[in-house]
Symmetry: C2
């Protein structure tokens, strides 16, 4: 059901008023969320456009600048005044084809405010604000301008001026390792440059997270603390320093600010999805959530190689072994890395060596695809570009057609890049290096999505552009990496710390699903005291399937480690990856989190809880369960004496009948967790 109401107020054409000065006619436009908890006030009183944000009548962002700088057009912002506003209200409930919930409420108040140069109203732009109960989004809209067509944005002057101190949970922006960093927890003042989602906790307990939504044909931004407490959007540049090369009219992506009275409020928000355009792909019944295993971890723990030779992982025998394992336990897919020519030698420095159609001699793609089909399993494709995107694009049509023919409906893509930069070949044949989150790559990533959609193929992007909710518009963009995942526990220096997955839900996971690849059972391949190991308990690995949402979840370990612990494996076998509802029940950033999710395939509920390096006991009530039903609660929890360092494998598995009125105590060890299935009877 959609409702829309709209009113427009024009303040008169600035051009008619020869002596118009902002100080005489300074304007303020105020707009609040439907429940009145959040208010935004936009103004031109300062001599340039500003906005400020309050939550429950307390300032969250002080008057913060807005503006854009162009290569040839004059700067938009300074000396611009408000000339009109158009308000509307909107409310609908829309349905996700897959997701953390099936039905999403999308209710907001909107105002589109036009600014014009006070001397010369030829120069105009609008800022559209949508104010929700869980946050705000705003974007720039630059209209057609007579005589102007192509434009280059060289800077965006949007500021976020925090009205108070805060604690910030952040990863460094513009680093060589894209988003793959351990999170810093610091005072706000100690942040230099940060990626988004950028999450903070104010002294009042209010939680605020800055991000962006619907990033299309624009550069991503990082936040740069240019003045104490004031963060400016730092658009990621092209190789030549320009930021956005586009033409009029154009819109920026949405700058988003989630605001919640408590930490779980951030997790229960749909702000990012709601700001995205509805599904453009039509029927997407060919997009299938599921679980997969793969010839992948074996390479990360040095048992196999991507390249050819004795230890080549992607062989016919090995692949059939994995297909058999997948079939036995009901996994949907088998990822195989290292199947294609190019993995021998210097691929890391130059991805041009990769073929995306030619297999190694010991990997028979058609035969294996057929074998998989017989077993009711699908191969999952793999395209590692090593950042050589022109090589990839040149082969893309053939490569996707090949996979389509092979019945492969999902591809994991990769953009690992030596030195942190993508390589493309320009029209003159010169190599240019771009950032993963610059405008060029924003468009390149989307190109792979739309091309894959033509073949009814879904994409799981590794070394991606940050998620900005485009899965709503392109539901075949099923997952991405974009943070430090499980692989860092195999060889990272250092591995992910115990608190890592207790921070991710409040930061990375606000942007969308992550292919974290949970479920390692052999937590310490090199020994419990080794530098490199998984720094969690076994139960926490199970909890990750519920805590870190993804429509595709990997059972990441080698088959033999699962065979050795079938009781614990049962949770992974049971847990779905598509949900009709999700509720964050409890948690604090960096400390712990508890999620409850209802399966979309059945009436079962699942709970996942995990903690940081501190042991923790959390009581939850089961009021989310259907009131009139009984459930068999199947619990996988840390053993009484478990701890991540010395006794990570101790796990207790038990069942008990429960009802909605009951409470459950989750007792978690250090870096521990609890995974529960509530099987409705």
């Amino acid at each position: 059901m959609k409702q829309r109401f709209s009113t427009t107020i024009a303040y008169g054409c600035a051009a008619l008023l020869a002596t118009f000065t902002y100080s005489v006619s300074a304007k303020q436009v105020s707009i609040s969320s439907p429940d009145q908890s959040i208010t935004v006030v936009v103004s031109d009183e300062a001599g340039f456009p500003t906005y400020k944000v309050s939550h429950q009548n307390k300032p969250v962002f002080s008057e913060s600048k807005m503006g854009l700088a162009f290569k040839s057009l004059p700067e938009f912002g300074s000396e611009f005044v408000i000339t009109s506003e158009t308000r509307s209200e909107f409310s609908e409930v829309w349905e996700q084809p897959w997701g953390e919930r099936q039905f999403v409420e999308n209710t907001y108040n909107e105002v589109s405010i036009t600014f014009a140069d006070k001397d010369e109203s030829k120069w105009q732009f609008s800022a559209r604000f949508r104010v929700y109960n869980d946050g705000i989004g705003f974007r720039y809209e630059i209209p057609e301008i007579k005589g102007e067509s192509k434009v280059e944005v060289v800077d965006e002057d949007t500021e976020f001026g925090f009205a108070s101190d805060a604690t910030a949970y952040w990863i460094p922006g513009r680093g060589w390792n894209r988003y793959e960093y351990i999170y810093n927890t610091t005072a706000l003042e100690d942040v230099d440059r940060a990626h988004t989602p950028f999450t903070t906790k104010l002294p009042t307990g209010v939680h605020v997270s800055i991000h962006e939504a619907a990033l299309v044909d624009y550069a991503a931004f990082t936040l740069d603390q240019r003045r104490p407490g004031v963060f400016k959007t730092d658009l990621t540049p092209w190789y030549d320093g320009s930021k956005v090369k586009t033409q009029l009219p154009f819109k920026s992506s949405w700058r988003t600010i989630q605001i919640a009275s408590e930490a779980t409020g951030l997790l229960n928000s749909n702000l990012i999805l709601n700001l995205n355009e509805p599904n453009k792909l039509g029927d997407v019944s060919w997009v299938n959530p599921g679980k997969y295993v793969g010839i992948w971890w074996a390479m990360h723990v040095n048992e196999k190689t991507w390249g050819s030779g004795e230890k080549h992982g992607a062989t016919n025998d090995e692949t059939r072994r994995y297909i058999d394992f997948a079939a036995k336990y009901g996994f949907d897919g088998v990822l195989v890395e290292g199947w294609n020519i190019g993995w021998d030698g210097s691929w890391f420095h130059n991805g041009d060596v990769f073929s995306f159609t030619e297999s190694y001699p010991d990997f028979d793609l058609p035969a294996l695809a057929k074998y998989a089909k017989q077993k009711g399993v699908k191969l999952v494709g793999h395209h590692e570009t090593s950042g050589s995107v022109t090589n990839y694009r040149n082969q893309m049509a053939d490569a996707y057609d090949l996979y389509e023919k092979m019945g492969i409906e999902q591809i994991k893509t990769g953009y690992v890049a030596d030195g942190g930069r993508i390589k493309r070949i320009d029209e003159q044949g010169h190599a240019r290096h771009e950032w993963h989150d610059g405008q060029f790559m924003v468009n390149e990533y989307l190109h792979s999505i739309t091309e894959a959609a033509k073949r009814k193929i879904s994409i799981n992007t590794h070394e991606p552009i940050k998620d900005t909710g485009l899965r709503r518009t392109y539901p075949n963009w099923i997952a991405r990496e974009g943070a430090r995942g499980q692989e860092f526990n195999a060889w990272g220096s250092p591995p992910n710390p115990p608190e890592h997955t207790a921070i991710l839900p409040y930061t990375r996971m606000l942007s969308g699903p992550m292919d974290f690849t949970p479920g390692i059972f052999n937590l310490a391949p090199y020994g419990l005291q080794a530098e490199n190991r998984v720094k969690t308990t076994l139960a926490k690995q199970l909890a990750l399937y519920v805590v870190l949402y993804s429509p595709i979840q990997m059972a990441a370990d080698l088959p033999r480690h699962y065979e050795n612990n079938k009781p614990a494996l049962q949770f992974i076998v049971d847990v779905p990856t598509d949900w009709s509802d999700s509720i964050a029940l409890a948690g604090e950033i960096g400390d712990y989190v508890v999620f409850a999710r209802k399966s979309r395939e059945s009436e079962d509920w699942y709970v996942g809880a995990l903690t940081d390096e501190n042991a923790r006991t959390v009581e939850i009530d089961l009021s989310f369960l259907d009131a009139d039903a009984a459930y068999e609660m199947q619990v996988y929890q840390d053993g009484k004496n478990a701890d991540w360092l010395d006794r990570p494998y101790e796990i207790e598995i038990y069942s008990k009948m429960v009802r909605a009125k009951d409470k459950v105590t989750l007792k978690m060890a250090t870096s521990g967790g609890t995974a529960i299935r509530f099987a409705k009877k």
Copy 2:
């Protein structure tokens, strides 16, 4: 005396070898300092140009990348190979018209290495390395290329890959406040972006400082730790993102690395000056080192205002008072700020309001210039642009002619800028915002220097481009600010900490003179316990005149505070600002420093010593004194019970006869110092 020897080795033209591959013909070029303590090895073995540096046979920088990226030309670096080298040796002693020493030894070994694209030798560039006993300098030289003329450098890929951990002493790069930050002392890994000079101390005790020399018509760089331990040159962009807009042929500035076995080795180096071009201005006898007072601090402590009104500082009466005071004590100049129209209202946000020729009604420039002349004193001019450089440039000729006519031979210029960016008006009349250290401003600052030189005027630049030694080429560029100076003690949040001036000599001061404006006698205008006060003892203020070199030194305080302490004032009256020699005798970064300097005007020597928040006793020997002479040692030291917090004024002044064979113990209080004049008998 100059000596130059030169040899060239060509490795054959790459174009002749159709199957030329770098791996077959990988080259290494090695060059050492005259004393063999520093060795640089340049190579193409990695598939791109690299250099590495060792000191006393221990690695200081591992193989570090070199390269440039252009907007239209292909990238220079990757797949480029060494094709020839040209070696030379050079040795001279040159004379400074003014400076910290009169004669400077300039001895180095040089190699110019040419690199060419291995497939297409049309693309070539050179890197010239000069290796001194106190460090290295290297720069890029791009030759003419057939068919190419205008070029844009969009990135420079020079890396500095530290071979070990280090402690770093640094200020954040690309900040809104340019260079005006308190220094951080951290592990190397905790540096994000940093300005240069960027000084480090290795675990071996070796000190290394990265900077640049001879920055002309190029963008300045900051250092960006792109990978752990690896710092990349981040050229400061134009408003549109480009870095250097130039034409072929061109040279970059020199990238410099000072290396010393101990901290004082950094201070006793002439590397930066030696890499600059000799004096281009010819006769510069009109450039006069000296000391000045000024109507300035009064505004910073809120006794006077820059703007008009009751408390206007720049009035006829006040100026005559300062002139009388200057004449009485032998100061050469009187700075007057707030003399010109524009200080009322919004100058901070928009410097276009400033006139550089029109005085306030209560300031009679010609009359005061005449009065000063009669008293044997000169007015010091003041041009605060507030970052509106087009407004300044439009008035510059008239403004400089006016000052010349008034007998003013020195101008303090300012580029305070709201939001940290300069405003210029482009040819279309559009405002563009540039960085203080981008190529545009590098050229703009130099323009003021060359225009001033035509009128025999010297410039003291505040909010400047960092010093890169251009005072050798343009000796009228007498000083600049470019760090947190004394003014931050009046209102800074916080004021400069006790260790600030014990770090500056090893960082900011390596680049050149600083107009720090020392000599505050009323250390705590708001009370000893107030947040804002000078956090040093009185004796340390005197020591600053010797420790922080500048050819122009201010006696910064209000005249009445000097009149109240004539015994201490005597040191300021006596101390010269031009030296025939300078020797850093002892010190450690952030802890303490001791300088000995010999006056150029007499046979006297001076010693200045200061310490951080720790009281400190340092013994020095006087072997720098002439062997066969007796000196009256006039000591100004902290009183026995002095400490910066509660008893900063306690000072002991005494005289004693000494000779070169003697030793002296410097006993310094917390944030204290010692100032000594050795008057030769």
